[in-house]
Amino acid sequence: MLAPPFPANEARRLGALRELLLLDTPPEQRFDKLVEFAAREFEVPIVLFSLVDTERQWFKARVGMAACSTPRRISFCAHAILQTDLFIVPDTLQDERFADNPLVTGDPFMRFYAGAPLILPSGFAIGTLCLLDIKPRQLDEIDRSMLAALRDLLLEEVLAQDMLPAGGQP
């Protein structure tokens, strides 16, 4: 398994994440509604609004996942925040970075991951909107556009509540 590396701007990224005051807060209908919508649209069993914290990824909103967090070292989202485009693993068992990941070999037995990084206007990636499935999948161009659109709507919601400047420059 390949543990996710840390972004070069990690300390300031975490600062920007914490300024949002989202970590360890109660569920909110506006986020729950969006992940439920995504689960129906893509017909996937698990959708997460994931925030990548120091040692964990914590789920502000989730469908189909009992746990409210997982360790960052096994997190797919911690890989996804390292890039600006969608991060897609069509079949985890065919990908040497993830084939022996505990999230693949054990519950929830992930076979597919697609994460859209949530990047603040300041450039810091705080987490993802991600889709998980227990079977391999492909996303076509329209699926990818829709996931990016839902990510943009989620980010609008995040920023709508946050009247603070989003953490300076990366």
């Binding site: 509604k33 919508f37 649209e41 329209i142 699926d143 556009s145 829709m146 943009d152």
Partner: protein, 138 residues
């Protein structure tokens, strides 16, 4: 000759559904979608803009000040807007019986989508309906 994306009007009260369809259609370069949350907002837009097609959610149970649930279709087909009276129109409905279907056909509705539906159904219909419009330039 050059191609431009078709300008479509999307009338849908549910904000998350409407915004997802509009953003996806734009980013996938299928169409330029103008959003209206209500029939009244759509009437205003149709008075000032020209569209190449429309996707309209009709609430059969709502009271409409002007012409009932099908009033907007009448408006579109009676040359009372700046848009082509023959432009393709799809409607989204909670239910549909034979009588209503006949009325919709009379109004030249080209597609009926029953609720609940996935946004992808509408986006695929936009892709089908919204082939790039050829325009002469210069």
């Amino acid at each position: 000759m050059s191609a431009r994306l078709p300008d479509l009007l999307l009338v849908e009260p549910e904000a998350l559904l409407r915004r997802t369809i509009a953003l996806t259609a734009r980013s996938a370069h299928l169409a330029s979608v103008t959003e209206a949350a209500s029939i009244d907002a759509a009437r205003s837009l149709l008075g000032t803009r020209r569209f190449d097609g429309a996707f309209i959610a009709l609430d059969l149970d709502a009271s409409h000040a002007d012409g009932g649930p099908l009033g907007l279709l009448e408006l579109l087909r009676d040359a009372r807007t700046g848009s082509d009276t023959a432009m393709p129109v799809a409607v989204m409905l909670e239910r549909c019986d034979a009588g209503l279907l006949a009325s919709l056909k009379q109004f030249g509705v080209s597609k009926v989508i029953l609720k609940p539906f996935r946004a992808r159904i509408v986006i695929d219909a936009i892709a089908e309906l919204g082939r790039p419009v050829r325009t002469a330039q210069g």
